[in-house]
Symmetry: C2
Subunit: 216 residues, 2 copies
């Protein structure tokens, strides 16, 4: 938009770097980090393996860039900024989004399963990231509890409820990756409604929710 | 136990074959099928890669043997033979079992995530197997419905309920693989109780259930 945009070799370098990260994300999501090779990534981008290591030093360096990029993309999708119970009404939107953009969820599930190996270079990233997601959601559920939007739960139960909800979300998406005919949105939104009923004691889903309409 | 047990080269061949399958299962569970190499499996068993292909023809042949063996092990763990609602009370035992024997669940989750790739050689196996598990559990829930152990659900809801339950079970175990401090049994049994309440309309869990005691 401005005349001062970077040009020439520098901008080409940025574009090339971006292209490598996107290709590596796709290859790692498809074959896993252990199964995806630098050679294959280089071939798809149309550069030499040496050019890859010039940009990223090593395969681990490339993985780190892929993970940073993932974090940035998830942040860009946005937590809605909703607080309390409303925070959870948007989870169905994430499932809908992932059906059209399978890259991130595929990368997440493949790396998560693979990184159960203690020596996997993504292990610490995955564990830290999952912990952060759980803590953030637990804070929202605590707000809901403190505002009496949901029944009383102690902090232990809050963590377990949040872990159950995300477990369920991951598992539904895994089933959909295994078999694209699985209606992940219908399965998820029905169960989310059951969880809300357990939390609130009644059948209504909070205003502003995507539940039940996201898949209409 | 009998004098007529096979001996010598034939028996050694069987033992060696078993050893290769067990090592390959562990390597594929750890690195994925794409990431685990014949070279690495051969080195751990202490044979040459050529000896592996003499037994299993190719890496895909070895994968087929690993998958067959998996099916056999899961069958041996046993469905309890329980019918109706009782069938579901034993799922917590499976989580307990898997905590002590992570190989199978790790293999399942790693291959499942990896085989979202349309060209993955385990794709059809994983999809068929998951479909069979869902159908079998749906039959049990239909029995429970027909015996009025649970509220009325139509067949679509029954499939969705079963998919939700297994999604949830997979996701909890994935969290435990990512972080062994996660109390997968507590998270699972609490949510199973919530699901039972939704199904039956009351808080009691059927007699014979492992829920609530499996982790005592």
């Amino acid at each position: 938009m401005t005349e001062r945009t970077a040009r020439g070799p520098y901008q080409n370098g940025i574009r090339r770097r971006r292209e490598i990260i996107e290709t590596a994300s796709r290859i790692f999501a498809t074959y896993g980090y252990m199964g995806g090779s630098l050679r294959q990534i280089a071939a798809e981008v149309g550069v030499t393996p040496a050019a890859l290591t010039r940009h990223f030093d090593s395969k681990e360096g490339l993985l780190a860039a892929v993970l940073d990029n993932w974090d940035a993309e998830v942040d860009a999708m946005g937590s809605t900024g909703s607080r309390g119970l409303k925070y959870f009404t948007h989870l169905t939107d994430t499932i809908v989004h992932n059906r059209a953009n399978r890259g991130l969820i595929e990368l997440f599930l493949t790396l998560s399963a693979e990184s159960s190996n203690a020596h996997h270079p993504a292990r610490e990233f995955i564990r830290t990231r999952y912990g952060r997601v759980v803590r953030q959601a637990a804070d929202r559920l605590r707000e809901a509890r403190d505002a009496s939007e949901v029944r009383w739960m102690d902090d232990d139960e809050i963590e377990q409820q949040v872990r159950a909800l995300y477990a369920f979300m991951d598992g539904v998406q895994l089933q959909w990756l295994i078999d694209p005919d699985v209606d992940s949105v219908a399965v998820f939104s029905r169960t989310l409604a059951m969880i809300f009923k357990d939390w609130t004691g009644h059948d209504e889903v909070p205003v502003g929710s995507a539940v039940g309409v996201a898949h209409a």
